[in-house]
Symmetry: C2
């Protein structure tokens, strides 16, 4: 069931016949995370690439000046949740990834990932394409953080990621956008009134 | 000569025999950009993927609040300079890319890029790997912008990108880091004195 979800995701971007899908899935292991459990801690090496079948995770780092958690990304159902840089270089991560609710994930280890790519080169294409998309969201975030005000960024966030806006607590979204939770409450109250 | 540079770059990540290299290069066209010439303007579709053989370009967007240019990235010798999101979706770009000195580039059009990937699937792997690296630099930038002060970010920038720090005017680096040019001058004077 969870494996099918991942295969469906992949087939949105590349062709994978049933035999290839079977081979692909044989590399992955299902795992459950309790609420609050860490997938990765700052300073650890990311040993697994992780697909979130269901649940919600936050990736965050600590602000060196304020000591507060700052959100890097959220991963909910049918998303990826890994530090790909740490995973691909096998060097320590500069951030942490933690489940914010009970989550079911599929994981592949570093060596298995390399083997899988050798057996199924078509997956190079899949990962290239989804990286392009993720890269686009990061570039947009850098631009929007510098070029637009908080109200605009909040509106864009809820339009771009309605599922995350519905699932993730507001104070975490506020942290992601670099605004206060009160600011978001004010905007939401303002919207209801208009 | 410039084509060889690109092939050398690729061979740092994947194996490409001479015949494949020849096929690959046949898809690319060399072009010169004068200082100030645009590779891409905000709102246009990025029609080409671009490798910078030599020169320097800036990618920037306009701050909606201040009206000022803000730097997204720089591309110098042996780097890529495209809006990959606009290129892969063939939708308008949200930023501009402009030569800040005379530059020599190699370009491939959207259709040719797809054909090239079909003929040389190994290039999927190359682009996956360099995307991973670029993605790492974007994530790091988001984290550093929020988590560290300007002095730390400047030091990290000149250590991570010494070639860019040496080549690109200081006021553009200041814009990239979100600090004033005076701030960088002060740090540099401070360093000399210590």
């Amino acid at each position: 069931m969870n494996e099918l979800k991942l295969i469906e995701n992949i087939r949105r971007y590349v062709n994978l016949n049933d035999e290839e899908a079977q081979t692909f899935i044989s590399f992955w292991t299902e795992r459950n995370l309790s609420k609050g459990e860490y997938l990765l801690r700052n300073g650890e090496i990311c040993r697994f690439d992780t697909y979130v079948a269901s649940g919600a995770l936050k990736a965050y780092f600590i602000n060196a000046q304020s000591g507060k958690e700052e959100m890097l990304f959220f991963a909910i159902d049918d998303w990826w949740a890994s530090d790909l840089v740490s995973f691909s270089t096998q060097k320590p991560s500069i951030y942490s990834i933690q489940a914010i609710e009970h989550s079911t994930i599929l994981q592949i280890g570093y060596q298995s990932f390399q083997e899988m790519l050798k057996k199924l080169p078509v997956m190079e294409r899949y990962f290239r394409i989804i990286l392009e998309r993720y890269l686009g969201s990061l570039q947009k975030r850098i631009i929007y953080n510098q070029a637009y005000d908080a109200r605009f960024r909040y509106q864009d966030f809820i339009e771009t990621y309605p599922e995350i806006a519905a699932k993730v607590p507001q104070y975490l979204i506020a942290s992601y956008l670099g605004v206060s939770a009160e600011f978001i409450s004010r905007i939401r109250r303002g919207k209801k009134g208009s």
